[in-house]
Symmetry: C2
Subunit: 222 residues, 2 copies
Amino acid sequence: MEKNDPITITLTDRLFDTIQRAIVEGEIPSGSKISEPELARQHGVSRGSLREAIGRLEARKLVERKPNLGARVVTLSYEQLIEIYQVREALEGMAARLAAQNMSDKEIEELQLLLDQHGRQIEEQHGEAYFQKQGDLDFHYRIVQGSKNHHLIGLLCNDLYHLLRMYRYQFGMRSKRSSQAYDEHHYLLNAISSRDPEMAELLMRQHIRSSRRNVERMLLEN
Amino acid sequence: MEKNDPITITLTDRLFDTIQRAIVEGEIPSGSKISEPELARQHGVSRGSLREAIGRLEARKLVERKPNLGARVVTLSYEQLIEIYQVREALEGMAARLAAQNMSDKEIEELQLLLDQHGRQIEEQHGEAYFQKQGDLDFHYRIVQGSKNHHLIGLLCNDLYHLLRMYRYQFGMRSKRSSQAYDEHHYLLNAISSRDPEMAELLMRQHIRSSRRNVERMLLEN
DNA sequence: GCGATGAATATTGTCGACAATATGAGATAT
DNA sequence: ATATCTCATATTGTCGACAATATTCATCGC
């Protein structure tokens, strides 16, 4: 008998998702104060539930809270973005290493198909960066999953991912290097399917460093 | 005038600290269910505040919560411990790299003093592992701080640290390799004071891998 | 005796109200 | 006019109660 735990969605869960999206997309401006009574009224919900949702957002570093002063949406900064890239480099590098050891042949095959599809998209729509951006996320996401390390997966896909998404939205970070990224993905996948952990980690770290340098250049133009 | 924000400790903060300590030290057994009414009564506090504290513990992966079923203290496992060591290797490796770039000369000097002190302690009390265990934490802690990357510092010193402490308590992990660890710390500090990021990261990762292998051996004995 | 069914009980999710603290406006003194 | 103090207002922290969901346990049918 399948013990299929019926997934119940609690009110706090929905609030958390909704507010997180609003913050990531800048609907609630970065740096602004969050008024509990007002937000609770807007969502037609009690303050208690709202506070729990805010607590989770705080754990994900999307809001900062000071006792008796309330919560503010985190303030984006160039320095913090660099910090995030450094953490990503470390964690995703390790993820790639583990993926080279732990991904199943089937998963690798599917990843190959995904990458082929990206290649065709790049040829067809010259520089339409949006799909490639989504594709970049998909690709990284699968490798992280392939590490089979649940801690790593949680840190990258739950914590860091949304913060990064917030920067992408609000700093208008569209990559002008989709074809280069595609090549780098290609080399990386080769390392993984050759089951070469050392090389996989090295290539992933280089890939993320390139990405960081690209962002740095972009932000210097202001 | 110094705008010294008066640090007020909220009730939830105290609860969080207290319960976290109880969980880490095994006072509340790993895997056991947490009854909100009972815990609230024990601490003489309302369920609302308690729930917020539990939420924070969940964010730190010390408890797991399922909707309408309640919270359980996380179940320790060999596999999870290995996962944690892998994450640590990635993050602390990056921390060492950054520390080699960002620590001040003064901080490096103080770290040297700390290490000298550890060396004397090892000579005096042959294998009294407790102090060395604390010393090991101090040493790593300072390097993480030296990275000057606040995200990294938060992940390691807030999230991972307590989980690791929980394993040390409950698996009775006392290291029998304090003098080897001392040597490794020594080489690592050399790399940092030579401002060699690459070498610092390499040595830190080897150090943590050794530590992991030591744990693996220890657990195989059961 | 064993498993299914349903009522009684307990636990979690959500809410509104009160207490403690911070914020802002207005009055007073320099 | 500026700065300080005081009081009124608003916001956060904490609490107890109700609603929704899970668990327990006795009963029933086989």
